[in-house]
Amino acid sequence: MMPDTRPVQDSRISAADRSDNFSDLHPPLDRHEALVEADRCYFCFDAPCMTACPTSIDIPLFIREIQAENPVGAARTIFEQNIFGGMCARVCPTETLCEEVCVREVAEGKPVKIGLLQRYATDTYMARATTHPFARAASTGKKIAVVGAGPAGLSCAHRLATLGHDITVYDARPKPGGLNEYGIAAYKTVDNFAQREVDFILKIGGIELVQGQVLGRDVQIDKLVDDFDAVFLGIGLPDTNDLGLEGEDAAGCIDAVDYIARLRQAGDLGALDVGRNIVVIGGGMTAIDIAVQTRLLGAENVTIVYRRGKENMNASVYEQELAQTNGVVIRHWTRPVGLTRGDDGAINGIGIEKTGLADGRLVGTGETMTLPADQVFKAIGQKFDPAPLGALGIALEAGRIRADATRRTSHDKVWAGGDCVAGGEDLTVASVEDGKIAAMSIHAALMG
């Protein structure tokens, strides 16, 4: 991809407005709000919210602890099941998880604000407590290598450390946290929360982080398998799917995930290059996030082009509405058919075609139009890169690593979880659960 060299279009938005735009999407509850909200929970038996949570957090119990003004105990209840409880409180699509099934959603169409209550408890803990909520078990003398310091890898490392094992985590990037640090929308995790959370998790002890180490380049998997008692892979999805259009490598056609990583690391958001007319291709969280964030950075027209209908989008209805209230236009039932370039070779437009269903299959209708675009963002999904797996013969499935219910791969010393395994949900919380399941399986395998 060619670097963007065009001038920053800072005149469209003041620095103050921009910083305001990137403040907390959902401001935290204060104590009064938290108590009022907690009072709404019915402490349901076999609570549907708890079943819907991929990490099975005891939601009714932690809300009751908030009611009884013990937010620290509430946080411990959360951390017992999900050590990333703080991040999950910020980024979980609760509208399709716990809050969707809350009995008060059924009764009144207004679920208990579980995500915000979870944030209240975990924030209170992290602000107040000087100690880690858990103590390590006696040392087992076992050593485990974890590759990838994202939610899957660190969740696995934390659980294993708690059980008394010694962990070394290798990660390719300069900073730990995976997409928590480089991918999640900036307004969901303000004030350097991703790094503060990693620091909190590491306080358990027994976890050594080695950043800037790429599996397949600096460390080799067969060596890890030899040197350690077990290996866990949580390496995510490093590549982006291509549009398959001519001109995809021109200036102005950008990988959304790369751009968001730069946005997340930018010291000065004003230094980012922002188009006037932006078109985003895709229908998932990444598409929504890049669309909203470029709008907030000052783009004038942002359009999401998605080939199917509203209900087919991976992004929830809530996320779609978030984009729309931020002035993003979502064009359902359209697909890109060609990129147009100006004299300088950079993108200046995109041709799109209306789509429809014929016999249940998606087809183009032949009706086309061109949208002006100085930036086109590709957000049509990430893909796995098997190269780092070397020649160990780890089996793949649907292009990702195959793992069983305990997250063990076809190699008996290697476990894997998070986005890099097949059949997952590609959510932070699901990755945390994978890491936890794998840790329990590794522990069982090593301790007999």
Binding site: R31, R40, F43, P60, A68, N70, T77
Partner: protein, 436 residues
């Protein structure tokens, strides 16, 4: 981490949370579920004498009052003691105690008020391996019509007599469960003490009619168009229970007698308050009946976290700490001045403080300042009564602030740092007489 285990009369339990004698402890199935959920002990549902058991109504037993959002605040019941055969209960108690040796198991007993009846049942109960007995002198309905329950608990002489029988015929610790349906709780407590009882537990339920059906004019719960008074319990009765506990804890004749606190305990905080007033443990009924046994997990973490925060390592570290601070009105410091303060950042401008003070109290809160809706305390009028604090929907928005120097703008009296109470106040007729 704090140690929340309790030792009550030598009866140890991993935490001070027991289930009170009531439906949650009616049979092995419930009790074992309770122990699995973490409860420290149970007082088994009250046993009656051998022979055909009592019968319950076959219609509704409960009525309730609710706060906003249908939060259950008070529960009323017309249930009697256990309606299961004595032998079945005794067998199950024996089995459960054997399976759960680390949990407290207390037998609650109510038999007719004659020596033979008590003499007959006590050895049977002892055989079960129960850790102690609780004498149910409390039920205000049904059983009292038959000369038992509160009919005994309202006559101190009977209490003393039965307690003496129990000490005579059993080696188990004896807890006397008191009825609150009495004017001065100290008399039955003193009687229990005099009879040699090891402890008292309180309160049992309060006689009540919870509501009246305005279609058929029957009290609720309605049994075929009629109702009888029931026993009231749940969060609503906690203040009554706390006062009664405090009265016993600070009565010189009963001071130091172990107390098991009962009445409205719902969270760790309620439990801590009972313990601060001297209780060695607490018993819970309504909260468990509302939320299920799992609620004890909140009580366990809450009490332990609070103790950690305060640096208390055991329950004894704070037990009874509030007792010396319960005193008579006449000893309250009349030189202690407070004024209400409204935090304008927290104020949501509902006006409840203003109207409460304006209509019913001292006209000490503004509603308009410089033409704008604004609620502010007028120190010249504020008597420091705390009403506004209690009616404000936002916690901590209105607080009472102590005056520490200068004069009270209302009375013009200098704020005196020295303690002075009614006994020496010039307006007190007794003081005047003494001076004359």
């Amino acid at each position: 981490m704090a140690d929340i285990s309790a030792n009550f009369l030598g009866i140890r339990s991993p935490n001070p949370f027991w289930l009170a004698s009531a439906p949650p402890t009616d049979k092995a199935y419930n009790v074992e579920r309770a122990f699995e959920a973490g409860w420290g002990g149970v007082v088994w549902k009250t046993l009656g004498e051998a022979g055909p058991p009592v019968v319950n109504v076959n219609g509704p037993r409960y009525g309730a009052i609710w706060g906003p959002d249908r939060r259950l605040l008070g529960l009323n019941n017309i249930e009697l003691i256990t309606d299961r055969d004595l032998e079945v209960n005794l067998r199950e108690m024996t089995e459960v105690k054997k399976r759960w040796p680390d949990r407290a198991l207390i037998a609650s007993i109510m038999v007719p008020c004659d020596e033979e009846s008590w003499k007959a049942i006590l050895p049977r109960v002892e055989e079960t391996g129960a850790d102690g007995i609780e004498l149910n002198f409390g039920c205000p309905h049904g059983m009292s019509e038959r000369g038992m329950g509160s009919a005994v608990g309202q006559v101190p002489e009977y209490i003393q007599m039965v307690a003496e029988w129990c000490k005579k015929y059993s080696r188990l610790p004896v807890i006397v469960k008191l009825t609150p349906n009495i004017t001065d709780i100290r008399y039955p407590a003193r009687a229990a003490h005099a009879g040699g009882a090891d402890a008292v537990s309180l309160i049992n339920t309060i006689s009540s009619i919870v509501s009246v059906d305005l279609d058929n004019f029957s009290p609720n719960p309605s049994i075929d168009g009629k109702g009888s008074h029931g026993g009231y319990c749940g969060p609503a009765v906690k203040p009554i229970a706390l006062n009664m506990v405090a009265e016993i804890a600070r009565d010189p004749q009963t001071a130091g007698m172990p107390i098991s606190g009962i009445g409205g305990v719902t969270t760790w905080r309620d439990a801590a308050e009972f313990i601060a007033l001297g209780c060695g443990n607490v018993q819970v009924c309504t909260a468990a009946m509302t939320y299920g046994f799992k609620m004890v997990q909140e009580m366990i973490s809450g009490l332990s976290d609070w103790m950690d925060e305060k640096g208390y390592t055991s329950i004894e570290d704070f037990r009874g700490r509030a007792v010396p601070n319960v005193t008579d009105w006449q000893y309250l410091n009349l030189n202690y001045y407070t004024k209400a303060r409204i935090d304008q950042d927290l104020c949501i401008k509902c006006g409840r403080c203003h109207i409460a003070c304006e209509d019913t109290s001292h006209q000490a809160i503004t509603h308009t300042v410089n033409g704008a809706r604004h609620f502010e305390v007028i120190d010249e009028e504020c008597v420091g009564c705390n009403l506004c604090v209690n009616v404000c929907p936002v916690e901590d928005c209105i607080t009472m602030v102590e005056l520490t120097a200068g004069t009270d703008p209302r009375t013009g009296c200098p704020v005196d740092a020295d303690y002075a109470n009614w006994t020496s106040h010039p307006n007190n007729p007794a003081t005047r007489e003494a001076a004359e």
